[in-house]
Structure formats: structure tokens, C-alpha cells
């Protein structure tokens, strides 16, 4: 008699999983670089190509690393947030100008505002590959020892900024 309830039982267990699945995002792929040292690089700066930028220069402070490009439409979404953040002087923002041309990049910053203390030029995208960049914009939070603590794929939203990035920055700053 009870075995006839088995199909119903199996289905109900399945429904619980399906309901849980509605809250998850199957496309979200967590980065394997979290809690690992930020890959090193030495790239020419965007503003002054005679100077270079490397993560080693930034040891001792917590910093935000934002991957952006002038051709990137979604970057425009988050840009006002970054500009506002840079005005608050809570944490320095460094940019990785990804697969872009210098003139286009400078013009873009001139037009939309420049939140970056400095931007590094990654014209061929090699550094992007090292950082696991697959969808611009992406944003990293890197601590005083140069370890990646957080990665945001896609535009930074006010919610992510308030609930994830800023609390983490404050915690890392001590």
C-alpha cells in the first residue's frame, strides 16, 4: 500500500530541489582566483605611457581593480558609481584598460569621467587572461598583501557596492 506513495514522494523531493534552483544562477561561475595572489604584470600607464603600473607598486594598501574598455557598453552602467566612489576617497580605484586603443580610451574617460588613480593599458588582453577576465566589466578587490579577495563579473550595482565591496574594503583596511 505504502509503495504507491513512492512516486509522489520522489516528486516532492524533486520539487524542493527545483524550487531551490530558482534562486540560484546556473551561469554564475565563481572565480578560482579568490584568495590567491593577484597575477603580476607590468603595463604602460594609459595617461603617461612612459610610466608603468604593477600590482607590486600597490602592496600595503587595499585597492579596487576595474577592467574596462571604451567599446564596452555595460561599463557605462557602472561608471557613474565608480566616479562617485572615487570622489569619496574611501579606496583607490585602478583601471585595466582591456583590448582598447589609447586614443579611444582617453576620449572615453574625458567624456564620462575618470575614477581611476591610474589605468594600465592591456592592449592585447594577456593580463586579462591571467586574471580570468571573460566578460567586461569585471572588478576585483585586492588586499594589502596583493591577494584577490573578491571578483565581480558584470557591472557593479549599488547593491553589490553597499553590501559586498565596501564592507570588505573596510574590513581589509583594518
Amino acid at each position: 500500500m505504502r509503495r504507491f506513495f513512492l512516486p509522489l514522494g520522489i516528486f516532492l523531493v524533486l520539487s524542493v530541489f527545483l524550487a531551490a534552483g530558482l534562486k540560484l544562477d546556473p551561469r554564475e561561475v565563481p572565480s578560482p582566483l579568490i584568495d590567491k595572489p593577484a597575477p603580476s604584470f607590468q603595463l604602460a600607464q594609459l595617461q603617461d605611457s612612459r610610466k608603468t603600473l604593477a600590482p607590486a607598486d600597490l602592496k600595503g594598501k587595499v585597492w579596487i581593480f576595474n577592467v574596462w574598455a571604451s567599446w564596452c557598453v555595460a561599463c557605462l552602467q557602472e561608471h557613474p558609481l565608480l566616479v562617485e566612489l572615487s570622489r569619496q576617497n574611501l579606496v583607490p580605484i585602478y583601471g585595466l584598460n582591456y583590448k582598447d586603443g589609447r586614443d579611444n580610451a582617453l576620449a572615453w574617460l574625458h567624456r564620462h569621467g575618470n575614477p581611476y588613480t591610474l589605468s594600465a593599458m592591456d592592449a592585447d588582453g594577456q593580463v586579462g587572461i591571467d586574471y580570468g577576465v571573460y566578460g567586461v566589466p569585471e572588478t576585483y578587490v585586492i588586499d594589502k598583501d596583493g591577494v584577490i579577495r573578491f571578483k565581480q563579473i558584470g557591472p557593479v550595482t549599488p547593491k553589490v557596492l553597499e553590501q559586498k565591496i565596501l564592507p570588505l574594503v573596510r574590513k581589509l583596511q583594518g
Partner: protein, 662 residues
């Protein structure tokens, strides 16, 4: 105006569906004839209004009404009219409307072909179908309205996804949905029987044609989808175990078990609980498939809207429908009773094993499809499950079932003798084994997989021939007629079975040959280059630019030579669709009975050179040919005389009864 008419028609249909869902079922319980008689006219009325709604949406598409959001998102003024029409069902909302149209179409068919069924039965069946209709109509009206307006209207639309601008797209969803929705009839028959307490051979005989018809459509729909992926996606693959493909395959596996189980219930009154459970679960998997592709729970190349809010609605609907029917099953099944006893070696036991194997196969596909979700929900990480799992699990499960396909039809009902069966089949097995072992050597390559695949295919084919010969011989012994007359006298259902099983053999042969012997070359070519694939030489002669109605194409000119003589020219294209800025590969395929030649353009590299993919695929069309034969077998079975004869007898009996009572 027209879109508003369409929306209004949907609302009217919903009201009718509500009446149709409540009154007939309550009427059947209360014995109220007036309430039960609501069912047929209500079903027909629903069909009319849904057809109106569908017509309104199609009209909006064909006439480029860009004030309708759905048209803006899925069409464009430079899209040819037949694709504008097909775009009606190219989106989540539109395809739901197609789903409901199919449902009301099947409802209409039930009203027309059910004169021989008792009124309570028809009322319950139509009532259950109406409940499903209510769910889908509410879903549409509340969350996925195809008639939503965009005001001010857009100047033009975002164009139909170029992947869908194809003849296969026009026909694949309707066929598939006819199958999915058709199983709702089997489902309704089962629930009606559980509600009414009458589950017997008569019920099975009524259910069978409907179920087989739905199965035929689903077979065609899946085969079309596979063929479409083959020629449209440009990689020469035809099955990827993608979640959406699996979502259609699972109901097919269970539907196959169901049509076989129904045979036992009809002929021997057995397997009643199995049959009813299979009818419920087959349609449940159809609904589950609908949920999976529209809720964002799984990623797929195929997924529609990935909107969790809609997912919540469908999940709720799913839990309600499947939960209620499985509860009804748990409550009423114990009373259903067992059929006749049968021996360990008998046709019943072969079919029981068949049931089990197909169910386990479907369950393993379900497990593989949902496993990423299970792990993610339990916080155990993100994985993806692909062909390695499915191929290694599915094939070993199907192999015994295919072996039984040769044995089952020859086994007697209730009690078969194993030595007798072995005697009849030993030559069939010997021939199959001998040929399977030797044939690959003549074809150039021998591997265990090729030999095994050929063995299975040949086994089914040869045992089918043995079956036919034995049947004719037996009839001749009984009747003494000539062979021709005897062959004519065999029931269509029997030929349907032989043909469908032959289709399976053809399918397996096709898969084995393609997987075993296909040759693929990816080469960088410029004008003048040649490459040899198999017995053919392919020479790239050059490229031309070809404008299309809504795209710009680069077309390659490829001459195919055999023994130095040109035999074909092939024109693979790379299209860039203007509106969506999406590049599309149009493979050039030279289809033949024994092989396909397949050429597609990859990416341009350097100066005037392209990466070109060339395949030689032996017997690949047998894959879809086999599926088509299976479907044809099903159609033959449905047109069996005894269904028409039984209906005539019952109609006459009903007529006689009413004449007496009049």
C-alpha cells in the same frame, strides 16, 4: 485593435476552460447529465477562441505591427513573410500560445472521436484537459502575455534569432508540441479512469490510439530537432544531451514504455498500475520539460526566458498537477487489481523488462540533467554533465531492451518456452553475429563498438523477418491460403510493430556507421586548395558575396571530385544578419542514401583564406530515416481495423440501445 481582440479571446477561453474544468468532473461524480454535457461544447468553444487568439498574434506578426512588444522582440520588416509567421511561436509567450492551441486542438479531436466512450469518461477526460488549459492560460495572462503593447510603437523589430530562420524551425516546435500535449490525453484518460474507478482492458483499448498518436508526433518532433541541429549549427553533430533535448527525450522514453504497457493491459488486462503510472509520469515529464526550459534553472543553448518569477508560477502549477495526480494514483491504485498471471518466460515478462529498462533509462537521463542543479542547491559546487555520462549510461541500458525487441514479439503470452524461442531465433542470432563481426572488416575498420552496434541493428532486423515468416507459416497451416492473401490479412497493428522496430534497427545502424566511420577534416583553405576526405577530393574555387533579404553572406564555391571527375558543387555560406549582427553558418550538405558530404565555413584567417570543415558522414540520414520509420509504424498501428471496427460495433450497439429505449 487586433491584439486586444486576441487578449480578449484568451480571457474568454479561460472562462470557458474554468467551466469545463469544474462542471463535467463534478457532474460525473454527481451523475448530473446536464453538467457533463457541458464538456463537449465547452472544449469546442475553447478551441475556437484560442484559434482566434493565435490568429490575432499571427496577424500582428505577418503585418509588422510593431506596437506589440512580442513582435518587436522577435520580428523585423525585412524578414520574409513565412518566417514572420513562424516567429509567432519563436518566443516564450508565443510558444505558450502554440502549446494551448495544440491542447485545445487535441480537446477538439477528443470531442469528435469519442462517441463510443461513456459520458462520464468523456466528461472527466475533457475536464482534466481543461484544468491543464486553465493553468497555461493563467500563466500566459498573468506573466507572459503575448499581446503586451509597446507604446509608442517601435520603428522596426529586433528580428527573429537567425538560428530560427529556417524551414526546420517552422515545423519542429509544432510537431514537438503536438507530442507533448498529446500525452495530456493519455494523462487525462488515466486520471479519468482513476477517478471513475474503471481501469480495464476496454479503457486501454480506448487510450491506445491517442497515446500512439502523441508518441508519433513526439518522435517526429525530436527527429526534426536533431536533423535541424545537424544542418543548422555547422558542427555536424546531431545530439548533444542538452537539457532541452533531454527534456523532450524523457517523455519519449516513458511514452514508448507506455505504448508497450498499454498493449499488455489491452490484451491481458495486466500491468494496469504500471500503465496508469506511466501515463501520469510521461505527461509529468512533458510539464517538467516546460518548466526546465523557461525558468532559468538550467543553462542550455536552447533555453527560452530565464525568468525566475515565471519559474515560480510553473513550478507551482507543476506541483499542483503532478502532485494531485500522483496522490490520486497512490489513493486509487491499490484498488485497481492485478491482471492474469504470467510465467518468468513470456511476452508479459519481456514487456515488463522493457518497461523497467526504459524507465531506468529515463531516470538516468533525468539524473544527469538535474545533477548540476542538485549539487549547486546543496552548495557542493558547480559542474556540468555532458555526453560522457549520458553515452556511458544510456547505451548499456538500451542494449538489453533492443535484444528483447527480437525476443518479445515471438514469445507467447502468459507462457513461452525458452528452448522453443532459442530454436526459432538461433539462426537469426547466428546470421546477425556473423555479419556484424565480418562487415566492419570490409568497410575498413573494426572496433568492438561498431561490431556491437551492427549486431544490435541486424538482430532486430533479422528477428523481425523471422517473426513475419513464422506468423505467415502459422496462418497458412491454419487457413491454407496463398501467401499474398495471408499477408493482406495480417492486422495493421502487426505491420506497425514490425515497421517501427525496423525503424529502430535502421536508426541504430545509422548511429553506428556514423560514429564508427565518419571522417572530419578542419583545414585552412584558399582558392585553389584541395583536400581529400574519404574517396572524395574537395577543391575550393573561390568566394562570392551574396546579399539576402535580411543578411549578407560570404559563399564558398566548392567542387567535389571523385576519381578526378567533378561530381558536385557545394555552396557553404557564412551569413551576417543585419539586425542582430549575428554570424550564422549555413552548411552545404550533399545528402545521399549511404552518406552525407558536409562542408561548412569556419572563420576567415589571413588573406582570403578560411577555415573549412569537411565531413564525410556515412549513413547519417539513416538516423532520421529510422525515426521516420518508427513514426510511420505508429501511424499504421493507429489505423488498425479493430479500432474502427470496434467503434462501428459500439456505435451500432448504442444506436440499437437508443432505438429500444426511444
Amino acid at each position: 485593435m487586433i491584439p486586444e481582440l486576441g487578449q480578449f479571446a484568451l480571457i474568454v477561453a479561460l472562462c470557458i476552460a474554468l467551466a469545463q474544468a469544474v462542471l463535467p468532473i463534478a457532474g460525473a461524480a454527481r451523475g448530473d447529465v446536464a453538467w457533463m454535457n457541458v464538456a463537449r461544447p465547452a472544449a469546442q468553444g475553447q478551441f475556437v477562441f484560442i484559434a482566434i487568439a493565435f490568429g490575432c498574434l499571427a496577424w500582428s506578426f505577418v503585418n509588422n505591427d510593431f506596437s506589440v512588444l512580442n513582435v518587436v522582440n522577435n520580428s523585423n520588416s525585412s524578414l520574409p513573410w513565412y518566417y514572420r509567421f513562424a516567429a509567432t511561436w519563436g518566443s516564450h509567450e508565443g510558444s505558450l500560445l502554440l502549446w494551448v492551441l495544440m491542447l485545445t486542438g487535441w480537446m477538439l479531436a477528443v470531442t469528435l472521436f469519442s462517441r463510443h466512450l461513456p459520458l462520464e469518461m468523456v466528461s472527466r477526460i475533457l475536464g482534466v484537459m481543461a484544468l491543464i488549459s486553465v493553468g497555461f492560460l493563467l500563466f500566459m495572462l498573468l506573466t507572459s502575455n503575448p499581446f503586451e503593447r509597446l507604446l509608442p510603437a517601435a520603428a522596426d523589430g529586433r528580428d527573429l534569432n537567425p538560428l530560427l530562420q529556417d524551414p526546420g524551425m517552422v515545423i519542429h516546435p509544432p510537431m514537438l508540441y503536438m507530442g507533448y500535449v498529446g500525452f495530456s490525453v493519455a494523462f487525462s484518460f488515466a486520471v479519468a479512469a482513476l477517478l471513475g474507478g474503471q481501469l480495464d482492458a476496454t479503457w486501454a483499448r480506448w487510450s491506445r490510439p491517442w497515446t500512439t498518436m502523441a508518441w508519433v508526433f513526439l518522435t517526429i518532433g525530436i527527429a526534426l530537432g536533431s536533423w535541424w541541429a545537424y544542418y543548422e549549427l555547422g558542427w555536424g553533430g546531431w545530439w548533444f544531451w542538452d537539457p532541452v533535448e533531454n527534456a523532450s527525450f524523457m517523455p519519449w522514453l516513458l511514452g514508448t514504455a507506455l505504448i508497450h504497457s498499454l498493449a499488455v493491459t489491452e490484451k491481458r488486462g495486466g500491468f494496469k498500475v504500471w500503465t496508469v503510472l506511466l501515463a501520469i509520469t510521461t505527461f509529468s515529464l512533458s510539464l517538467l520539460g516546460t518548466f526546465l526550459v523557461r525558468s532559468g534553472v538550467l543553462t542550455s543553448v536552447h533555453a527560452f526566458a530565464t525568468d525566475p518569477a515565471r519559474g515560480v508560477f510553473i513550478l507551482g502549477f507543476l506541483v499542483l498537477v503532478i502532485g494531485a495526480s500522483l496522490t490520486l494514483f497512490a489513493w486509487r491504485a491499490p484498488r485497481v487489481g492485478l491482471g492474469g498471471r504470467f510465467d518468468f518466460v513470456s511476452r508479459e515478462s519481456a514487456l515488463l523488462a522493457n518497461n523497467l529498462l526504459l524507465i531506468v533509462a529515463a531516470a538516468s537521463v533525468l539524473l544527469g540533467t538535474l545533477y548540476p542543479l542538485f549539487l549547486d542547491a546543496l552548495g557542493l559546487g558547480k559542474i556540468s554533465v555532458g555526453p560522457p555520462y549520458f553515452d556511458s549510461v544510456f547505451v548499456p541500458l538500451m542494449a538489453p531492451a533492443i535484444f528483447l525487441m527480437g525476443v518479445g514479439p515471438l514469445a507467447k503470452w502468459k507462457r513461452a518456452e525458452l528452448p522453443d524461442l532459442a530454436q526459432r531465433l538461433k539462426w537469426a542470432f547466428a546470421v546477425a553475429l556473423f555479419t556484424a563481426l565480418l562487415l566492419p572488416f570490409t568497410l575498413g575498420k573494426w572496433t568492438p563498438m561498431i561490431a556491437f552496434g551492427l549486431l544490435l541493428a541486424l538482430w532486430v532486423a533479422v528477428s523481425g523477418v523471422v517473426n513475419l515468416r513464422q506468423r505467415v507459416a502459422q496462418l497458412r497451416a491454419d487457413n491454407g491460403l496463398g501467401t499474398g492473401a495471408l499477408l493482406k490479412g495480417l492486422p495493421r497493428g502487426y505491420y506497425g510493430m514490425l515497421l517501427a522496430h525496423a525503424g529502430v534497427a535502421v536508426f541504430i545502424a545509422g548511429v553506428t556507421m556514423v560514429k564508427g566511420y565518419e571522417v572530419e577534416k578542419d583545414v585552412r583553405m584558399q582558392a585553389g586548395d584541395t583536400v581529400g576526405v574519404g574517396a572524395y577530393t574537395f577543391r575550393l574555387d573561390g568566394f562570392v558575396q551574396v546579399p539576402g533579404p535580411n543578411y549578407e553572406a560570404t559563399r564558398g564555391l566548392v567542387t567535389v571530385l571523385k576519381n578526378g571527375k567533378p561530381v558536385r558543387t557545394m555552396f557553404p555560406e557564412k551569413r551576417m544578419y543585419h539586425v542582430q549582427q549575428m554570424p550564422m553558418t549555413e552548411a552545404a550538405i550533399d545528402a545521399g542514401f549511404t552518406r552525407d558530404l558536409y562542408v561548412s565555413l569556419g572563420e576567415p584567417v589571413g588573406n582570403d583564406a578560411w577555415v573549412v570543415r569537411i565531413y564525410h558522414k556515412p549513413f547519417v540520414d539513416w538516423i532520421w530515416g529510422g525515426a521516420f520509420l518508427m513514426a510511420l509504424g505508429g501511424v499504421l498501428a493507429i489505423t488498425d481495423r479493430r479500432y474502427r471496427l470496434a467503434r462501428t460495433i459500439e456505435r451500432e450497439a448504442a444506436g440499437a440501445v437508443s432505438a429500444v429505449t426511444a
